[in-house]
């Protein structure tokens, strides 16, 4: 058992420990802080090398904030972000000295949702690519240009496109350029925040296939954030389901599809329309909307919309624990307390 665990640990690239990101809400004349939006609330998980971790949830559940916290685009309120560094040891990115911390930034890159907003319209592609490479001191000027050409080639674009401006490209091409831009810095982890939701279906498939190919080629690790469950399921090895800032269930992607344990995951999966005639199953319709993250419900955050709500759910918060026999499948729900591994 311990051997298994150390084996697993060896593959872990990034560990999140009790990561929290609260945004202050201020009101009144003096702009006093009156509350906090708990966008990411106490998340603990591992990201393994070479895997794709899918993160799904409805809008406002904190999935994008989680992604941005990994890059420290938002400074997490508390918690630890442990990255395996070159020496093989884990270092907490949030407490590293500034110089050290800067060196690690290159290793985690991001692809954003809107390929139209991710480029400065005044800069051509070469300038946009060159800036981060120059800042990180990657090679001489000619080496960098060579590298940019290489990056563009890997995403099936012609290298001479680098002297064009963003407006000359279509949405699909721009998203390819975004991917190339992230690749140019030789990252290990790429956080993809809804990379295909702004694209048309026919383009979407091109980008998804490209991302999968690149992952195999460069041994990349992806954190794939999306609201479209069928896309996430297609891309991911493991999936984390988020609801109001918490991970409610995390499991192997096949396992999650076969057997969802959390009532929210069940509802989420059953709500996805399937493009096959007669594929419709009995749908679990959730009542109401996602509550406000400023004042989340007490106890289990899903209890006001849950079909199986019990007394305990309104009072206590269920812990995220692995299932007996399948430690990798973790769920935060009191329905499964008996089958769960006790801490």
């Amino acid at each position: 058992m311990t051997d298994d665990k150390t084996m697993l640990d060896r593959h872990v690239l990034l560990q999140l420990k009790h990561l929290k990101k609260y945004f202050p809400v201020s009101s009144g004349w003096l702009r006093k802080v009156t509350g906090h939006v708990k966008a990411v609330d106490d998340i603990t998980l591992d990201i393994r090398k070479g895997e794709t971790l899918g993160v799904v949830g409805e809008s406002g559940c904190g999935k994008s904030t989680l992604g941005k916290s990994l890059l420290r685009l938002h400074k997490p309120t508390s918690g630890e972000l442990l990255l395996r560094c070159d020496d093989g040891e884990f270092h907490d990115l949030l407490s590293l000295p500034k110089k050290e911390s800067f060196k690690t930034r290159r290793r985690i890159q991001m692809i954003f949702q809107d390929p139209y907003a991710s480029f400065d319209p005044m800069k051509n592609i070469h300038n946009a690519f060159d800036e981060p490479m120059r800042i990180h001191g990657l090679g001489s000027k000619s080496e960098r240009t060579e590298k940019i050409a290489q990056a563009l080639k890997t995403v099936n674009l012609q290298p001479d496109y680098m002297y064009r401006y963003p407006h000359e490209f279509s949405g699909g091409q721009r998203q390819r350029i975004c991917i190339a831009k992230a690749l140019a810095l030789d990252p290990e982890l790429i956080v993809c925040d809804e990379p295909v939701s702004a694209l048309d279906v026919s383009i979407q498939a091109q980008i998804l296939n490209l991302m999968r190919r690149l992952q195999n080629e460069f041994n990349l690790t992806f954190v794939f954030i999306a609201h479209d469950l069928s896309v996430v399921q297609y891309m991911s090895d493991r999936i984390a389901v988020m609801y109001l800032g918490k991970v409610v269930e995390i499991a192997d992607s096949v396992c999650l599809y076969d057997r969802q344990l959390h009532p929210y995951t069940q509802a989420l999966l059953s709500a996805v329309p399937i493009p096959k005639v007669g594929a419709r199953k009995d749908r679990i319709l959730l009542k109401g909307d996602v509550p406000s993250p400023v004042n989340p419900p007490s106890g289990c955050r899903f209890h006001p919309r849950c079909r199986f709500c019990m007394d305990i759910c309104t009072k206590e918060e269920p812990p995220l624990r692995g299932m007996k026999g399948n430690e990798g499948h973790k769920v935060a729900c009191f329905l499964h307390t008996e089958q769960q591994i006790s801490e």
Partner: protein, 338 residues
């Protein structure tokens, strides 16, 4: 048979004049909507599906005009109106819009007026078409809001759009559309801005409304999953043309046009797993102002032949009610609908 159709669109052509360019947004589009059924119009962005809907209602922007074709609306077996005969702001058309044919728009946030209460906005449509006192109208609206699952409708009647969530606003949009009990409801991407769980609620609601009131629905979407779930017939559009039209089964089980086939294979389906690869359509959708001598899909089509670049494909009938615009099925072409 003809009387079975509540709406027939025949050879509709809509053009946009942008500077010196003319964009052929809708090209020779024909389809029929059967009474009490749901027709799905699918296609990617820029394929003209929304403009088709707007052309039916003549809600087009100033730069656009309908160049040809007919929109035949048959409210009762004795009466058929050609909507394209009316001027866009004529009295006749205004009495049809909102009353007989209603529309739900994609973006409920920008479709609702932020300075009026939602009750006022629903009342506006209702009192325009029906002679009701304010009190009666209010009662009717509150009943409607209750039916749509808005909690405590009496209080919500006076609320403003900013006080509602996205799903609730879309319910208000449905209330505005359905309050006059229209014969046809055109829903333009009604759930695109919403989360999946809310989307499921809204789709269930549209279906419930349809069953209760016998409304015919035109559902415009890009999501094949939604089509498979609630439509009876499907029109697939590409670059301003209907490339394939048929019943749900015909389109999903037996697609003929290369574009429809590719479209169905390029979306990931839940439970697909990581081993299967998606089939993607090469290239990108051409600019809308490009004029093609031949088939619009030819540059991206894996089966393209010489003839495809030279002549527009004719409508070919595969089975009864299943039509394809593709040269691959030339032997089944109908000569009269060139």
């Amino acid at each position: 048979m003809e009387k079975d159709y509540i709406l027939q669109v025949k050879n509709l052509e809509t053009r946009f004049k942008i500077g010196k360019k003319t964009v052929h947004a809708v090209n020779d589009v024909s389809f029929n909507l059967r009474r009490g059924t749901t027709l799905g119009v699918v296609g990617e962005s820029g394929c003209g599906k929304s403009v088709t809907a707007l052309s039916i209602m003549q809600l087009l922007p100033k730069a656009a005009h309908i160049e040809g074709g007919q929109v035949l609306y048959t409210p009762s077996p004795e009466q058929t109106l050609n909507l394209t005969d009316f001027k866009r702001n004529s009295k006749e058309l205004r009495s049809i819009r909102g009353k007989d044919i209603a529309m739900i728009f994609q973006d409920s946030l920008s479709s609702l007026d932020p300075v009026y209460s939602i009750g006022w906005q629903i009342m506006e449509n209702l009192r325009m078409h029906e002679k009701l006192s304010k009190k009666e109208a209010k009662e009717k609206i509150i009943r409607m809001l209750g039916e749509l699952g808005i909690p405590s409708p009496e209080d919500r009647f006076k609320s403003y759009p900013f006080e509602f969530s996205g799903g609730m606003k879309q319910r208000v949009m449905i209330a505005i559309g359905m309050i006059c009990n229209p014969n046809i409801l055109i829903a333009d991407e009604p759930t695109t801005a919403l989360d999946v769980t809310i989307q499921a609620q809204i789709l269930a609601l549209i279906k419930q409304m349809q069953q209760e009131h016998g409304t015919s629905v035109i559902l415009i979407t890009h999501n094949m999953g939604i089509v498979a779930e609630i439509c009876d017939e499907v029109a697939v559009m590409y670059m301003g043309r209907v490339v394939e039209f048929g019943s749900l089964l015909q389109i999903f089980e037996n697609p003929h046009h290369p574009y429809t086939k590719a479209l169905l294979k390029s979306v990931p389906v839940l439970g697909m797993g990581k081993d299967t690869e998606l089939e993607s359509i090469e290239g990108t959708t051409p600019d809308a102002s490009t004029v093609f001598k031949g088939c619009e899909f030819e540059p991206r089509c894996p089966f393209a032949m010489k003839k495809c670049t030279e002549e527009h494909p004719m409508v070919c009938e595969i089975e009864e009610g299943h039509e394809v615009r593709c040269w691959l099925y030339e032997e089944k072409c109908k000569d009269d609908r060139r």
